[in-house]
């Protein structure tokens, strides 16, 4: 890497030393000279269409757009003068020539960049008396509303759609004053991330789920962390009168690792928080086969404590299993673990996690990559996983690293994922043979054997190795749950065996599925004797009672429905009635992420805050409070005094990676704090694991068909889950996003996919 040359630039008579080649607009803004702009957006391709950022540069004939000018030595710039102001005022007048005066009904009103610009640069009266171009307001999809008339053609949306999402779903059509932003065929079939809505400086693209609900200044804003995937995007929750109204990531409200990026789940799947089906009170099933009957908290806690004590006395402490969840906060999981160890004294604790990262953390020889590292990486190796569906922010960073940063991307996957469009090399392997590649990279097998097992050409592995060897910069190794624990261990040791070179650094980026997958490992909940399926298999045998926080995964329950029936006693903490609560003897209503304080640890290892936006709905309580109440009833007072910060302080004292962390240190979402993970050295005992991995690879048949079809957009994103299923729009998307007969009316009112969704009451505005 070369260090950028420093040059001298004079702005409004003041001299500054700046990096050569930096965009002039950024330099001016950083040094306190406000420059208005619409179309300029950091880290997107330049557009220079709004002509608001004009500056005078000496020796240049006309006013220049500062967003397209890069700093050169001796540049003399004027940002404010009569001439510039006249030009800018003229531009605003032109922008308003076609813009309707419908701010009172526009959802952007109050946080509209055009509105703000007009306050500063607009004239008092409009001199254009010609008819404005009229386009009706319409829907582009169940969750994107579009009013083409309000558009000022900055094309941020089209650039975001292309560069961030790689979808090109939204484009400009037509010419001149008749240009409109639209989609092919008039209907938007994309991943519905809503980033076009977020970056739109006017009310052209709007959130159809929050449409005409309230106004931005009415909302109480809270910065929090997304609860849907392991990327941990920072977002701003807008609530009003105890109801969560919307989620945005606008940079005026929040400045996290994701910028203004969010995916469909983060942005739109929040209505579950105030959903009417939320559990309202604790429920008790007094006898097996009976009904769940609403109870008071006192009664439910007393009943549960008595039952647990009874089972502990009769069958011993190890007959009680405690299951946390990677969806819960660090605080909840930590208190659960403490409950299991100190109150019950059982060795059977775990979390309902899809795959364990414990072996990876134990053998990790390189630090974790942050999303910023991924954006600036030079080589990215993605083994398994499907980040564009499961970790959308990672996918966006990878895409930008390739597109805007010139990184090389190698994908090893059994499925031709969409991200392969950006890949330099794509190794299309047979399902379940990703392990072979790890073995080959570790140099423990000849390429021919690995290639045969994976079903790729022998020559395809060597370029990958060379690419890693020749990298000048960061190499990010990403892997998904397809790798076996042995392969994860070997991969974790790989950087240590290859060794760092002067300009090369290895970074890891595991791709777990849940928002706090890292957290459950960190607090130690995954170190229990049995995993979730193991506990279920032992149900009714050695395990007589289960205490489940956050519900079990459908994948775990599949084929084990009987297991929960076999239990003597099942306690569940949940938001909604689920498959797990159907067998529960006691159900506690838990508070959702919007109602609690806490922390999540994302796949960068960043410990990020979750903040309370609304008071808990109905009688819900935070998970860790419920556990503390139970502990209290069983005779041990955890002494947290109802304060999540007290729990976190204890985590900071007991969890090595979180040493010294406190809530005040995590206050600023723009400066996230990474947990201090211990790096392992080269370990001798890995030899056993290696042998096991070699055996595993050798056992692979080396036959079988490959998956040839690229999965559809949204096959994971639009999946109806317990939480996403509470959003009517998701049902439309999951059903293939049908185009309604009339795009002028919300599709929700025209198409009924699920009669359970209250269409009529929705019309009445309920």
């Amino acid at each position: 890497m070369t260090t950028a040359e420093s040059v001298k630039v004079t702005i409004n008579g003041q001299e500054f030393q700046v990096q050569k080649g930096a965009p002039l607009i950024d330099v001016c803004r950083e040094n306190g000279f406000a420059i208005p702009s619409f179309c300029y957006y950091a880290d997107l391709a330049l557009q220079a269409s709004c002509r608001m950022c004009l500056v005078r540069i000496e020796k240049m004939p006309k006013l220049q757009t500062s967003c397209t000018i890069t700093c050169t030595d001796g540049m003399i710039v004027t940002t404010q003068s009569e001439e510039i102001e006249k030009a800018q005022r003229g531009m605003v007048e032109f922008l308003l020539a076609n813009h309707p005066l419908d701010c009172p009904v526009c959802d952007r009103g109050g946080e509209c960049e055009l509105q703000e610009m007009v306050f500063d640069w607009g004239g008092l009266e409009e001199r254009f008396t010609e008819r404005k171009n009229y386009y009706p307001e319409k829907f582009l999809s169940p969750i994107v509303a579009n009013d083409p008339q309000r558009c000022i053609l900055c094309k941020r949306c089209t650039r975001v759609c292309d560069e961030w999402m790689g979808e090109d779903a939204i484009e400009a059509g037509g010419r001149g004053a008749n240009t409109v932003i639209g989609t092919f065929g008039g209907w938007l079939n994309c991943s519905q991330c809503g980033n076009c809505i977020e970056v739109c400086p006017t009310g052209t693209l709007l959130d159809a789920t929050y449409r005409h609900q309230t106004r931005p200044w009415e909302l109480e804003r809270t910065v929090s962390t997304c609860t849907f995937c392991s990327d941990g995007c920072q977002m701003s929750l807008g609530s009003r009168a105890g109801e969560l109204m919307r989620v945005v990531a606008r940079d005026r409200y929040v400045d996290g690792i994701n910028g203004e990026f969010l995916c469909i789940k983060g942005r739109f799947a929040h209505p579950f928080v105030n959903h009417e089906e939320r559990l309202r009170t604790p429920l008790i099933r007094y006898r097996k086969g009976g009904k769940l009957i609403p109870a008071t908290w006192d009664e439910a806690i007393r009943f549960t404590a008595a039952k647990l004590q009874e089972i502990k006395d009769a069958h011993g402490a190890n007959s009680i299993g405690v299951v946390g969840s990677p969806r819960l906060t660090n605080e909840a999981n930590y208190v659960l673990l403490k409950f299991a160890r100190e109150v019950i004294g059982t060795e059977h604790y775990t979390a309902s996690e899809a795959f364990s990262l414990a072996p990876f953390f134990k053998h990790m020889t390189a630090p974790l990559a942050t999303h910023k590292d991924i954006r600036h990486a030079k080589t990215i190796v993605l083994i398994g996983g499907e980040p564009e569906e499961l970790q959308p922010l990672t996918a966006k960073q990878v895409r930008q690293a390739v597109r805007n940063g010139g990184a090389k991307l190698v994908i090893i996957n059994s499925v031709p994922v969409r991200l392969k469009q950006q890949a330099t090399q794509f190794l299309h392997v047979r399902p379940g043979t990703e392990d072979a590649l790890v073995l080959a990279l570790a140099g423990q097998t000849d390429d021919a054997m690995a290639a045969r097992k994976m079903g790729v050409e022998v020559g395809e592995i060597e370029p990958l190795r060379r690419m890693i060897d020749e990298t000048q910069g960061n190499v990010v190794l990403m892997f998904g749950g397809e790798l076996s624990t042995e392969a994860q261990t070997i991969l974790a040791q790989l950087p240590g065996s290859i060794g760092d070179e002067e300009n090369r650094r290895f970074l890891f980026h595991p791709l777990p599925l849940f928002n706090n997958s890292f957290g459950v490992h960190d607090v130690g909940l995954m170190d229990g004797k049995l995993n979730a399926t193991g506990l279920l298999d032992a149900a009714g045998d050695t395990v007589r009672a289960l205490y489940v926080a956050g519900g079990l995964l459908p994948a775990h329950l599949q084929g084990r429905e009987q297991a929960l029936q076999n239990l003597d006693f099942l306690v569940v903490q949940e938001l909604f009635a689920t498959d797990t609560t159907a067998h529960a003897d006691v159900v506690f209503p838990a508070a959702s992420f919007a109602e609690i304080d806490g922390t999540y640890t994302n796949n960068d290892g960043l410990v990020q805050r979750v903040r309370q936006s609304i008071p808990p709905v109905h009688q819900a309580k935070p998970d860790w409070v419920i556990t503390s109440l139970l502990a209290d009833a069983l005779g041990i007072d955890f002494n947290y005094q109802m304060s999540a910060s007290a729990v976190f302080r204890e985590i900071g004292e007991h969890v090595p990676a979180y040493q010294g962390l406190r809530y005040p240190l995590l206050k600023d979402e723009s400066k996230p704090v990474q947990a201090k993970y211990q790096l392992a050295g080269q370990r001798a005992e890995v030899a056993d694991v290696l042998a096991e991995l070699r055996q595993r690879v050798e056992r692979m048949t080396g036959a079988g068909d490959k998956i040839m079809e690229t999965p559809e957009v949204g096959h994971e994103l639009f999946k109806i889950g317990t939480l996403t299923g509470k959003v009517p729009q998701f049902h439309l998307l999951a059903a293939g996003n049908p185009e309604p007969p009339d795009v002028l009316v919300s599709p929700l009112y025209q198409i009924t996919i699920d009669s359970g969704l209250r269409r009529d009451t929705a019309i009445a505005g309920d």
């Binding site: 701010c103 009172p104 009904v105 307001e137 005409h212 609900q213 106004r215 505005g765």
Partner: protein, 173 residues
Amino acid sequence: MSIISDIVESTKSIIKGMSVTFSYIPKAKWTVQYPEEPVTLQPRYRGQHLLHVDELGREKCVACYLCAAACPSDCIYIVAADDPRAPEERTGVDERYAEVYNIDYGRCIFCGYCVEACPKDAITHGYNFELSVYNRADLLKTKDDLLITKQKQSPNYRVAFSDEDVDSEYKEV
């Protein structure tokens, strides 16, 4: 100053003051015989609010919240909603309408800022001043109380014409 001059000065002041008071005794008295007879209100009197409708009977309010934002006593509560029906069938003039529109007259100070803020001329001050109730909760007026179509004019007042001299109408007693 001596005590004598003090007494003289203060007596003068009392006489001066009381002379104004006594001068009113023989003059005619103006009394409004409310509620036996209607009161005449000035055209720009600020009474209970009216929510207006257009010629098709649709509510003019588009729930833009500007009145609520302008309100210094924070007495207006609105819940906006989306009405996807055809324009003629809608509740309001626009797709966006106020599903709930409450004014808490226990807090309203009748400053008229809401009327000034309204971009659609949907809210104005009416003339009804008879807002006293027996129950504090009844001071919260909903859309049903505020809509112009739902309000009945009280017989206890009339509104003066703009060029009318209201004072001369009061009776001498």
